[in-house]
């Protein structure tokens, strides 16, 4: 029986594992953390249908029970080596595993907002990230720095994306719609609280996203300001004062807000960067490079080494899952070409 090793138990890793296992392939799923699906469990709801992230996580966890999947959680794969006919995986404790093919699904991590010092994350309590906001929404406790209900929540797009100063020229793709989703949630949970989004371009690329934007405007009265916030400062009463330009009015704008939510972008995870480097499949910004984005998007150019999900580029959960399925097909095709 053919053996496949999958590194990373996020949506992509699990989906690929279950698809391969259903096709009679033996899969070992490695995960550095003790538990799978960490990133998705940090979320409250997923756009555009506001489905609870936990439901998706539960569904994916269920797939781990498919016959043929062995899980190896808490195992950190440090290096992988091609042995001529098979791959050897070496973990941090120097234990080795062998597989006919390997799927890299090591995922992303969010941009560290401390790096944008002028926005005051980690300095002023009222400045939080989109991940912090997701937690507040999840627990139904959207509170300002003083522990009170906020009267105004302000979102800033493109923190750590489309930003030369943080070295990330690319668009993280999911933050635009996430801010709209969170602004709607804020207005749902706190109908008296104002919500504003500072943006440069709103990229509503997916099905149902533009409709969410319309709903945010029409039904939830979210206000949209075209300008990037250049700096934030604290006020005496623990609020945050921000400075921007309203580029449509051509006037400088200042605003005091209870919470400033930084929409942090997606970066290649540490594991992605390390493994990409070790196997020489690293592309721009530490993401893994596929052979061809149109035709061979799961191939890495190394025999039997495949890639899926956000370790390649920013992606939504649904895109990751689809990508994992296509990776599973590519892996099956490859295994079928191997001599018996």
């Amino acid at each position: 029986m053919r053996k496949v090793a999958i590194i990373g138990a996020g949506p992509a890793g699990i989906e690929a594992a279950s698809t391969l296992a259903k096709n009679g392939i033996e899969v070992t799923l490695f995960e550095k953390s003790e538990t799978p699906l960490k990133n998705i469990q940090d979320k409250a709801f997923l756009f555009p249908n506001f489905q609870a992230a936990q439901e998706i996580a539960d569904d994916l966890s269920g797939k781990l029970l498919t016959d043929g999947i062995t899980t190896a959680f808490g195992v950190d794969i440090a290096d992988i080596k091609w042995q001529g006919t098979e791959w050897k995986l070496i973990d941090a404790k120097n234990q080795t595993y062998v597989a006919d093919a390997v799927l890299v699904a090591t995922g992303y991590q969010v941009f560290d907002a401390h790096r944008k010092e002028e926005l005051g994350y980690g300095i002023y309590k009222g400045v939080i990230t989109s991940l912090d906001m997701e937690q507040m929404i999840k627990h139904g406790k959207i509170l300002n720095a003083n522990g009170d209900e906020p009267k105004r929540v302000t979102f800033l797009q493109c923190v750590g994306s489309r930003d030369e100063k943080s070295g990330n020229h690319y668009c993280s793709k999911i933050c635009c719609v996430t801010a709209v989703k969170q602004a709607i949630e804020v207005r749902k949970q706190l109908p008296k609280c104002e919500a504003s989004i500072f943006y440069m371009d709103l990229r509503m690329w997916g099905q149902g996203f533009e409709e969410m934007y319309r709903t945010a405007q029409e039904k939830y009265g979210v206000s949209f300001v075209r300008g990037r916030i250049s700096e934030a400062a604290a006020t005496f009463d623990g609020r945050v004062q921000l400075k921007s330009e309203d580029t449509l009015m051509g006037l400088p704008l200042k605003m005091t807000t209870d919470l400033l939510v930084l929409m942090v972008g997606m970066e290649a995870s540490c594991g992605t960067k390390e493994l990409g480097k070790a196997c020489d499949i690293s592309g721009d910004y530490g993401f893994i490079k596929s052979v061809n984005p149109h035709l061979y998007d799961n191939e890495t150019g190394k025999p039997g080494l495949f890639v899926a999900g956000t370790c390649k580029r920013p992606m939504s959960v649904s895109d990751s899952i689809n990508d994992a399925r296509s990776a599973a097909i590519a892996i099956k095709d490859y295994l079928d070409t191997l001599p018996q």
Partner: protein, 110 residues
């Protein structure tokens, strides 16, 4: 004509067929990083001069981009070259150099 309360007004639309972008192209040659500007407004948001005067660096360089140069030399004198705009620009445009070069080009091509 004025006697009858009529006057011929100059159109205030941007006529992209008639406009000369010669000076704008000179600027791009000298400050290539300006090609990357995506009009986010960080430069004028952080600008000290902008908080108290009509000076708007984003408006000025947008006018330059559109070939509208009238009054820009006077406006550009208000910049104190502190360089905060250069520090905040997410696209890495060298705004200080941009301002100096806009001044020089306007002067050279008077």
């Amino acid at each position: 004509m004025n006697k009858f309360g009529f006057a011929i007004k100059t159109p205030r639309s941007e006529d992209m067929d008639k406009v000369s972008l010669e000076r704008y192209n000179m600027l791009l040659d000298r400050v290539p990083s300006f090609k990357r500007c995506f009009q986010c407004g960080c430069c004028s948001a952080t600008c000290s001069a902008r908080q108290y005067t009509e000076f708007s660096i984003r408006r000025i360089h947008t006018s330059f981009r559109r070939g509208e140069y009238e009054g820009l030399d006077e406006q550009l004198k208000k910049c104190m070259l502190c360089g905060k705009c250069t520090l905040v620009c997410p696209r890495g445009v060298n705004l200080r150099s941009l301002i100096i070069n806009m001044r020089q080009i306007l002067d050279e091509t008077k």
